[in-house]
C-alpha cells in the first residue's frame, strides 16, 4: 500500500514538474531559445499568488489568474525588450542574456519581498482525503490536476486550434508563415504570453504547498531543464510524460534507495535517455 502511495505522490509531483516545464518547452519549440530565467518566472508567479492571496486578501480565485496575467506580461516584455534581440545572436547570447535576467529578477524579488520564506495559508484547499487507503492532499491534487490540465490545454491549443497551428507554422518556417499572412513576431510574443501564463499558474499552484522565497526558482529551474530535455525540447506532451516519469522515479528511488540518491537516479536516467535518444523522448530528430 505504501508503494502505491509513493507512486501516486510521484505522479502528482510529476504533473507539477510538467506544469512548470511546459512554458520552457513551448518557448524552446517556438524559437530555439532556452530561457535560463524560467525558474525565476515561476518564483515571481509564486510571489504574485502570495501577495494577492494574503497581503491583498484576494484568496485563491484571484491569485491564480493574477499570477497568469502578471507572468504573461513579464514574458511579453522580456520578449520585446530582450529575447527578440538576442535570439538573432549566437546561442551564447541567449545564455548570457537570460542568465542576467534571472539574476535581475531574483534579486529584484529579494529587494521587494525580503529573504523570508513565505507560505500560503492552508485554508480552503489545505485538507486531505483518503481514497482506497491512499491519502491525497488537497493542494497537491489541485496542483497535479492543474498541471495535467494546463499541459493538455497547451497541447490542445497547439494542435487543435487555428492560432496554435499558426504558432507551429511560425516555429517551423517563419518565412512560409509570412506567406500565409501571419506576423511571426506577433505569434512569438503570443508564445511568450502563453508560456508566461502557464508558468504563472504553475507558480500559483506550487505556492499552495511549497514555500516561496527569492531563490526558490533555482531549485525548480534545473528540474525544469531536465524535464524539458528529457521529454524533448519543444514538445509539451513530452514534458508531461517526462515530468510524470521523473516524479515517479524520484519518489520511488527516494523511498526504496534513499532520498539522497533520488537525484542521482534521475540524472543517470536522463543521461541514458540522451545517449539512446539524443532528441529526448518525444523530440524531433
Amino acid at each position: 500500500m505504501t508503494l502505491v502511495q509513493v507512486i501516486v505522490s510521484g505522479l502528482l509531483l510529476g504533473a507539477v514538474y510538467a506544469l512548470f516545464s511546459s512554458g520552457l518547452t513551448l518557448i524552446w519549440g517556438m524559437m530555439n531559445v532556452v530561457n535560463f530565467a524560467h525558474g525565476d518566472f515561476v518564483m515571481l508567479g509564486m510571489y504574485t499568488a502570495v501577495v494577492i492571496w494574503t497581503a491583498l486578501g484576494g484568496g485563491p480565485f484571484a491569485a491564480v489568474p493574477a499570477a497568469a496575467i502578471v507572468i504573461a506580461t513579464l514574458g511579453v516584455l522580456s520578449y520585446f525588450l530582450l529575447v527578440r534581440h538576442i535570439m538573432r545572436g549566437p546561442m551564447l547570447a541567449q545564455i548570457l542574456g537570460t542568465f542576467g535576467l534571472a539574476l535581475f529578477l531574483r534579486y529584484a524579488a529579494f529587494w521587494t519581498f525580503g529573504a523570508d520564506f513565505k507560505t500560503l495559508p492552508d485554508t480552503l484547499i489545505g485538507g486531505s482525503f483518503t481514497l482506497g487507503g491512499i491519502r491525497f492532499e488537497g493542494s497537491r491534487v489541485l496542483a497535479g490536476v492543474g498541471g495535467l490540465l494546463i499541459t493538455l490545454l497547451l497541447h490542445l491549443i497547439l494542435t487543435r486550434t487555428s492560432v496554435g497551428s499558426r504558432m507551429l507554422a511560425v516555429s517551423e518556417d517563419a518565412t512560409a508563415a509570412q506567406l500565409m499572412g501571419i506576423r511571426p513576431q506577433r505569434m512569438q510574443a503570443l508564445a511568450w504570453a502563453m508560456a508566461g501564463a502557464a508558468t504563472g499558474i504553475a507558480g500559483a499552484l506550487i505556492a499552495t504547498f511549497f514555500y516561496t522565497s527569492p531563490t526558490v526558482g533555482e531549485t525548480l529551474a534545473i528540474l525544469a531543464f531536465v524535464t524539458v530535455s528529457f521529454g524533448g525540447f519543444g514538445s509539451v506532451l513530452g514534458a508531461l510524460v517526462a515530468g510524470l516519469i521523473i516524479g515517479v522515479v524520484e519518489s520511488l528511488s527516494a523511498y526504496l534507495i534513499g532520498p539522497v540518491y533520488k537525484d542521482v537516479v534521475v540524472y543517470v536516467l536522463f543521461v541514458l535517455v540522451l545517449w539512446f535518444r539524443p532528441q529526448g523522448l518525444m523530440g524531433k530528430a
Binding site: S9, D116, S128, F210, V216, V260
Partner: protein, 418 residues
C-alpha cells in the same frame, strides 16, 4: 505589507544610528566587521542576525536603563573602556560562497580596518574567512558555525560562543532518558537530516552519543536540502513508525516536512526539531499552529520578564516590527555582546589586546541573551559554558521546558501536531 513597513523602519533606524555616530565624533568609533549571508539561500537567517546585532550595538552606544541594571555594558555612551567610543558595525555579504566570505574578510581588515570580525554563519565560509583573520592577526568570533573542526585548526585568533553538535547530542540524550524514566516510550528513534555540512555533522554526533547512552537509532534518513518533495521520506517514517523522530533541517525542508506529515497523517509520540528551519521566524509565523507540542532545541526561549533575553527581545521586536528573536539571531547577538565586552575590557582597538581580553572573558549566565551557562573560552577558543535549552511549541511560540532550572513551562506529551 508588513515587510515594507519593516524596511522603512529599519532604514530610518539605520539613518538615525549613522547620525549618532557622526555626531559623537569626539572619540574614534570602534569598527567591528560582521560577515553574514545577506543574499543567497541563507539570506533570511543572515538578515535577521544583522538586525539583532544592530539592536546590540544600539544598546551599547545609546544605553538601555533596564539592561544596565544587569549588564554594565548597557549603560550607554559607548565603550567606557575606550573613553566612550561608539561601536560602528561594518556589514559584509558572504553571498553564501566561501570565496566571497574570504574576500569580504580581507576587505574588512584591510580597508575598513576593523578591530575584530564576527561571522560567518555557514561553517564552510567561517573556515575561509577566519583563515584570513588569522593570517592578519585579527580576532574572529563565530556565533553560529558548529562544524567541529573549526576549533581544531590551532588558530590563535579564533573564538566560538555557540554550543556545538556534541552539546546538542548530550542535551537530547539526557532529555530523552529523563522522559523514558518518566514513562514515555523511546524504544526507537529516527534521525531525519539534510545532507549538508550542518545536517550530517549533527546527525552523526547524535547517533554516536545515543549509541553510547543506549538510545536505539532505528532509522537514519539523509535527504538533499531544498527538496522539491519529501513524501517518500515521510512514508518511510510512517511505515516504521518510530517513537521519536529528530529532524535536522533548514527552513524550506522544515516547511515541507510539516506540511507533508500533516497531509499523510503521521506523527511520532515525540517529535524533536534540531532548531534551524523549525526556529525560523517565517516557519513559526506560518506553520506554528501545525506543530503544537513540537520539541525543539534552541538557545533562545523568551525568558522571564525583566531578564536579559526578554528585554533584548522587546527591543528587537520594536526594530523588526513584531518578529521575535530566534535561535540564530539570538546567538548572533550574544556573540556580538561578548565581542563588545572584550573590546571594552581591552580598552584598546589593538587586536592583540582584544584577543587577550576575549581569552579572559568570563560572563555569567545572568547576562546571557541565549540560554548558555555563561561564556568562557578554552585554549582552542571554544566557549565551554555553551549549552542549549529544549523548548516546546505552545500556542504558536516556543517556551523553555528543559533543563528544569531554566524551564518556564511543563512538558506536554505526546506530540499533538495539528
Amino acid at each position: 505589507m508588513d515587510n515594507m513597513t519593516r524596511r522603512v523602519f529599519a532604514g530610518a533606524a539605520a539613518l538615525a544610528a549613522l547620525g549618532v555616530v557622526t555626531g559623537a565624533a569626539a572619540q574614534q568609533p570602534v569598527k567591528i566587521g560582521v560577515i553574514y549571508p545577506l543574499s543567497g539561500n541563507s539570506a533570511s537567517a543572515g538578515n535577521y542576525s544583522k538586525m539583532a546585532i544592530e539592536v546590540g550595538a544600539d544598546v551599547v552606544n545609546n544605553g538601555n536603563a533596564e539592561l544596565a541594571k544587569i549588564m554594565p555594558i548597557a549603560k550607554g555612551g559607548g565603550l567606557s573602556g575606550l573613553g566612550g567610543a561608539k561601536i560602528q558595525l561594518i556589514f559584509a555579504d558572504n553571498q553564501g560562497t566561501p570565496a566571497a566570505g574570504q574576500n569580504q574578510a580581507l576587505r574588512l581588515i584591510s580597508e575598513e580596518k576593523v578591530a575584530a570580525i564576527i561571522g560567518a554563519y555557514q561553517s564552510g565560509i567561517t573556515v575561509t574567512a577566519s583563515a584570513i583573520a588569522e593570517r592578519h592577526g585579527i580576532p574572529f568570533l563565530t556565533a553560529e558555525s558548529v562544524a567541529a573542526n573549526l576549533t581544531e585548526r590551532g588558530f590563535k585568533w579564533f573564538f566560538r560562543t555557540t554550543p556545538v553538535a556534541i552539546d546538542f547530542a548530550r542535551a537530547y540524550s539526557t532529555f530523552l532518558r529523563e522522559q523514558k524514566a518518566a514513562g514515555q516510550k523511546v524504544g526507537s528513534v529516527a534521525l531525519v537530516h539534510e545532507n549538508t555540512e550542518y545536517g550530517n555533522s549533527v546527525a552523526s554526533v547524535i547517533a554516536e552519543q545515543f549509541a553510547k547512552d543506549g538510545l536505539p537509532v532505528t532509522q537514519k534518513i539523509a535527504y538533499s536540502a531544498n527538496s522539491s518533495d519529501v513524501q517518500p521520506q515521510v512514508l518511510q517514517l510512517k511505515e516504521k513508525n518510530p517513537d521519536v523522530a529528530i529532524f535536522i533541517s533548514y527552513t524550506s525542508d522544515a516547511i515541507l516536512y510539516t506540511k507533508t506529515m500533516k497531509e499523510l497523517g503521521w506523527k511520532p509520540a515525540i517529535m524533536i526539531a534540531d532548531n534551524a528551519g523549525f526556529n525560523d521566524p517565517a516557519f513559526v509565523k506560518s506553520l506554528g499552529g501545525s506543530v503544537e507540542g513540537l520539541v525543539n532545541r534552541s538557545t533562545f526561549a523568551g525568558g522571564k520578564p525583566g531578564s536579559v533575553p526578554e528585554l533584548f527581545n522587546e527591543l528587537y521586536k520594536k526594530k523588526t516590527g513584531g518578529d521575535s528573536l530566534d535561535d540564530v539571531s539570538a546567538r548572533g547577538l550574544q556573540g556580538f555582546l561578548v565581542m563588545a565586552d572584550a573590546i571594552n575590557r581591552a580598552g584598546s582597538t589593538d587586536p592583540a589586546k582584544i584577543r587577550d581580553a576575549l581569552k579572559a572573558t568570563n560572563l555569567p549566565a545572568s547576562q546571557m541573551v541565549t540560554g548558555y551557562e555563561g561564556v568562557k573560552f578554552d585554549d582552542k577558543g571554544q566557549n565551554i559554558l555553551a549549552s542549549t535549552l529544549i523548548t516546546q511549541m505552545r500556542g504558536g511560540q516556543y517556551v523553555a521546558i528543559w533543563p528544569k532550572d531554566r524551564a518556564t513551562a511543563q512538558i506536554v506529551l505526546p506530540y499533538k501536531g495539528w
